[in-house]
Amino acid sequence: MKKEQIITSAVMLVVSVLVLISVTIAWYTGNQDRPTVTGMQMSAAEVGEIKIALAPGGEDIKNLSETTKYADTGLNELTINIEKDAQGNVKIAPGTYGKITFYVTSMDVSVRSCKVVPIVQIQQTADGIWYPVSIAEDSGIPEAPDGLDAASAALLEELYTIVHGKKAAGVQPAKTRHISFFKDEAGTQEIDEATPYLVEWSADEAAAKTEKPVTIYWKWHYEYPFTAEETATLNQTEKSIKINEYDAEDTKLGNHVKNMRFHFTFSTQ
């Protein structure tokens, strides 16, 4: 009996240790930014949740209807040198700019920060698919959806790289980014996958379910956005080449993309 008991105990010990290890790992992966552990919460639906609204104190967008759940782009504030579509809304074009505001609330004291990353999704035809479906990891380029022939897939990826300024496979050097996102109106603090917009709540704010506005400014650069260094070092011919290249890319975008929208991913820790 004693031997059996030892074996049993040993097995139970090993099993308990394994369980403890896995739960600890699970806990710590979820607790990267939080120094204090407030206790185990087993209800998955409540943990890590935020409310995203389009107006102060408004309803969460997941509860809004198809016609009201999309954020305004600020395009209609532009009145000069613009073109309007059949519904009277300003079309997006090189040189246009605007801002998008969400009102984000932490719905749980354990949710103390949220990263927001914007991308531009494109649609080649009115009923076509929105590309990309999900955000690209790191600085890679999302794969084209299945079912497209090689030329169409390559075009789609090229359009993505023009908008987001990445390097398409085999393209040297990286293309200039055409549509940029910023934290400030002046356009000095750029937002991208590497430097997302970070909204944070203090412990008190999280407990009080404080709503925080998240305003992201966007701009489609009218002309090649010369950096200060380029302005100083390039000669007239080199500058003309860059301007013409940029304009040709803009024309390609305008010729192949029917619609655009801004897509935001909110990740809580």
Partner: protein, 260 residues
């Protein structure tokens, strides 16, 4: 030593614990998954503006203009017909988007070896029945298949477009002429046109149920103020040539906020 199997009761206990352990691990693992939540939101869908599409075409609007003037004999007038068109944009044989409905400017650049006058008139099409009318202007062009055809026009008004040559110095600077420009003998004159004879801006409409090309004729004549001077001789200019460029461009202006 006698080998003893674990009793059934013990086995059941171990099994139960193992199941519990798996369950807890699974929940622990799922717990880790749910703590990093992703939510997504979209802005409204916006339509992309089509780029302006503007082409300088031959008199039949079938192909790009090949500007060739040839010789201009004394007392003669050369008429070069060209077309400014919003023809559909093609890329690799496929029609892609290309919009119209914009103002454009026309520029004519020419060197001044010969004492010539350049005038641009707006044209409107007339039928072949008018071909014997002395006022009718005709021009030949090649269709896409290669067949040669002729179109006929008459001038809309007797007044030429009014050009502005004040852009000359700006263009010369852009061309990189940095030295003392006045010492360069033959540097080209730049004339820009942005209004038609009605005083309205040169404008190209969107293609509706047909193209809306605009036709112009460039009339080149000898400048009589020079040629009728005593001592002037055409034979002095027998081997002289000038270069002529026609340019059309439409600039999409930068969108802004504010009132008009």
């Amino acid at each position: 030593m006698k080998k003893r199997n674990l009793s059934k009761k013990i086995k059941m206990q171990i099994l139960a614990w193992a199941v519990v352990a798996c369950l807890v691990s699974l929940i622990g693992g799922s717990f880790a998954w749910y703590t990093i939540q992703n939510r997504e939101a979209d802005s409204k869908t916006v339509e992309v503006m089509e780029p302006y599409f503007l082409k300088l075409q031959n008199p039949g609007d079938t192909a790009e203009l090949q500007l060739a003037v040839g010789s201009l004999f004394p007392g003669k007038t050369k008429q070069v017909v060209f077309c400014v068109s919003n023809k559909e944009n093609e890329e690799g044989g496929n029609v892609i988007m290309g919009g119209g409905d914009f103002d454009y400017t026309m520029e004519v650049i020419y060197t001044e070896n010969l004492a010539l006058n350049y005038k641009i008139y707006e044209l409107e099409k007339v039928s072949e029945s008018e071909k014997d009318n002395p006022e009718t202007i005709w021009a030949e062009y090649s269709e896409t298949g290669g067949t040669k055809k002729v179109n006929y026009w008459k001038k809309k008004t007797g007044t030429a477009l009014i050009g502005d040559d004040s852009i000359t110095s700006e263009r010369q600077a852009q061309a990189g002429l940095t030295e003392n420009v006045s010492e360069i003998m033959n540097k080209g004159k730049y004339i820009s046109y942005d209004k038609n004879t009605n005083g309205e801006k040169l404008h190209l409409q969107s293609k509706t149920d047909g193209y809306n090309p605009q036709f112009f004729v460039m009339e080149i004549t000898w400048n009589t103020a020079v040629t009728e001077q005593p001592g002037f001789s055409f034979s002095d200019y027998e081997k002289e040539t000038d270069m002529i460029y026609i340019l059309v461009k439409a600039l999409q202006l930068k969108p802004e906020k504010g009132t008009t």
